[in-house]
Symmetry: C2
Subunit: 285 residues, 2 copies
C-alpha cells in the first residue's frame, strides 16, 4: 500500500494514503497536526483506503486547522459518502480540490515556502503525478561584509536577511545584496505512480533532486506492465535519465518480488543513483 511523507521543518505533506498509513505515520514520529496537505494520485484502494481513518484520527485528536486534499475527480464523492453515512469523525474543514485533466504542469497548492504542481500520468485509471518545489531561499548572510559595512549585530541582521534595506546610525543605507550571497535554489521532489512511462512523468521529474517513480515489474514482464498501466524498473530509470533527475527512488513493487534485487539491478544499469523504497525508510534530500 502506497504512502509517502515529505517532511520539512515546520510542516509535512502526504502523497497517497493506502490502508495502514496512519499507523506508519505514528511509527515515523510525524505529528498529524503538522500535516499541511494530502495529494492522492488515483482512486485505487491501495493509494486511498487509509485516508478516511487518518482523517478520523485527526478529528478525534481535535485538529482544528483546515486540511487541503488534492486528487482526481471522484475523491469528493468518496469522502462525502463516508461523511453522509457517518463513518468519519472530522471536526475541521476539508478543502478538497479535484482534477479530471492536467495536460500541463499545473500548480494545485502553495504554502509560504513550497509550491505543489500536478500533471496527468498514464495509468488505466486517471492518475496524477506531483512535483513539490521549495521556493528559493535567501542567499547566505555574509557576516564579514556586514561588519565591514558597520551594521551592528542585532535586529538589522534579520531585516537584511529577509530582504529589507536598513539605515545605519551614521545615515548610510545598506542593501541586502551587499550582505547576502546568491539566492539558493529550493529542493524539488517528484512523485510519479501509478503510471506507464510517459511525458507527464518526465515533465514532473525535470531536474528534480529526487524522483520517486513506480517500478512494478522487470523488463521480462513488459507485457503485464503495459496491460495494467505500470512501469518496469528500466522504464523508471529511463524516465529519471531523460528528466535529468539527480536521484531515483523506485517503489510499488509487484508481490512477485519479495527480493527487490532484480528491480534494483535493472534500474542501476540505466540510472546508477537509484535506491529501492522500504517501509519507513527515510531519505534526506
Amino acid at each position: 500500500m502506497s504512502a509517502l511523507a515529505v517532511s520539512r521543518d515546520t510542516e509535512w505533506f502526504l502523497f497517497d494514503c493506502g490502508e495502514g498509513t496512519q499507523t506508519q505515520v505514528a511509527r515515523a514520529g510525524l505529528s498529524p497536526t503538522r500535516l499541511d496537505a494530502v495529494f492522492i494520485t488515483h482512486l485505487h484502494g491501495d493509494h486511498l483506503y487509509g485516508l478516511p481513518g487518518m482523517l478520523s484520527t485527526m478529528g478525534l485528536d481535535q485538529r482544528s486547522r483546515d486540511l487541503v486534499i488534492v486528487g482526481p475527480r471522484g475523491l469528493k464523492e468518496y469522502l462525502d459518502t463516508l461523511a453522509r453515512l457517518r463513518t468519519m469523525f472530522v471536526s475541521y474543514g476539508l478543502d478538497v480540490r479535484e482534477l479530471d485533466a492536467a495536460d500541463e504542469v499545473t500548480t494545485v497548492h502553495e504554502t509560504a515556502d513550497c509550491v505543489v504542481k500536478t500533471r496527468a500520468l498514464d495509468h488505466r485509471l486517471f492518475a496524477l503525478g506531483y512535483r513539490l518545489e521549495e521556493k528559493p531561499r535567501p542567499g547566505r548572510f555574509d557576516l564579514d561584509a556586514a561588519m565591514r559595512l558597520g551594521v551592528p549585530e542585532g535586529p538589522l541582521f534579520g531585516k537584511l536577511q529577509s530582504g529589507e534595506a536598513v539605515v545605519l546610525d551614521n545615515g548610510k543605507t545598506v542593501t541586502p545584496d551587499q550582505v547576502l550571497g546568491q539566492p539558493r535554489r529550493g529542493k524539488v521532489v517528484a512523485y510519479c505512480l501509478d503510471t506507464r512511462p510517459c511525458a507527464g512523468a518526465t515533465d514532473l521529474g525535470n531536474g528534480v533532486d529526487l524522483l520517486i517513480h513506480e517500478a512494478t515489474y522487470t523488463e521480462d514482464l513488459r507485457a503485464e506492465a503495459g496491460q495494467w498501466g505500470h512501469s518496469t524498473a528500466a522504464d523508471a530509470a529511463r524516465t529519471a535519465r531523460e528528466a535529468s533527475a539527480r536521484r531515483l527512488l523506485i517503489t510499488h513493487f509487484s508481490s512477485r518480488f519479495p527480493d527487490v534485487t532484480p528491480l534494483l539491478d535493472e534500474a542501476h544499469r540505466i540510472f546508477p543513483d537509484t535506491v529501492a523504497a522500504e517501509d519507513l525508510v527515510s531519505i534526506q534530500v
Copy 2:
C-alpha cells in the same frame, strides 16, 4: 480497530473489519478463500475501513465464490460508491444484506453447520450484535453397540452416523438411535460491540460459550460511556452474568488504557471468567 475471526474446520466468519484487518488475517494464517461471510456491527470507520481492501485482495487472489456481507443499512451505498469510483477489484459476487431494525433476534445467515443471528444494540449510530450458533452435532458413535448389532465396519457406519437407518445382510434393520449417543449441542458465540449495556446484548449472549462484549471505559468514566454509547468493563461483566454466558472476552478499550488491568479487575469482581482481548490472541471455544 476492531475485527474478530471465528474459525471452524472448513470455514471462518469475520465480525467487523477495521483498517488493517487483511494484514492481521494474513498474520493469523487464515485463508481468505475459506472466508464464508462478513458481519459488520455498525458503520463507524474503526469497524469498517478494512473491508474494501480485504475485498480487493480477495479479488486479486482470484476468489470466485460469492461472499455474504451483513450489516446496517448504508453498507451497500458504501460498497457501491467504492465500486462505481473503480477503487475496488472484486471479481466475485457480493451478497450484501442490510438491516435497519432488528428488535428480535433474527437469523441473517446459514451454512451447513452454522446459523448466524442478529439483534440491534444501543450505540449512538445504529449497531447490530451477532450470535453464531453451531447446529447440534450427531451424538458419539458407539462402536461396541454397532459391533454387537452385527453392523460390519465400512460405509454402513457412515450412514448411521449421518442419521440413516441401514439394513444388514441378515435382513435386520439398525436405526441411528441404537448406535449414536445424545446429539451434542453446538458451540455458541456472541459479539456485542459497540453498545451501551442493553437487552439486545443480553439476548444475544443468552447461554453462550463465549460472549465478546465491548468494555471501552471503567466505571469512573460512566458519564463518557453513556454519552458516546459505550459500556464500562462492569457493564460487560453484568451482561455476561445476566445472560448466563460461560466466559467473557472484553475488547474495544479506550486508548486511555495502555494497560488493561483496571478494566480486567473491574470485570473480574463481577464475572470471574473474563479475559481481555489482545491483537492476534486466539481462544479455543
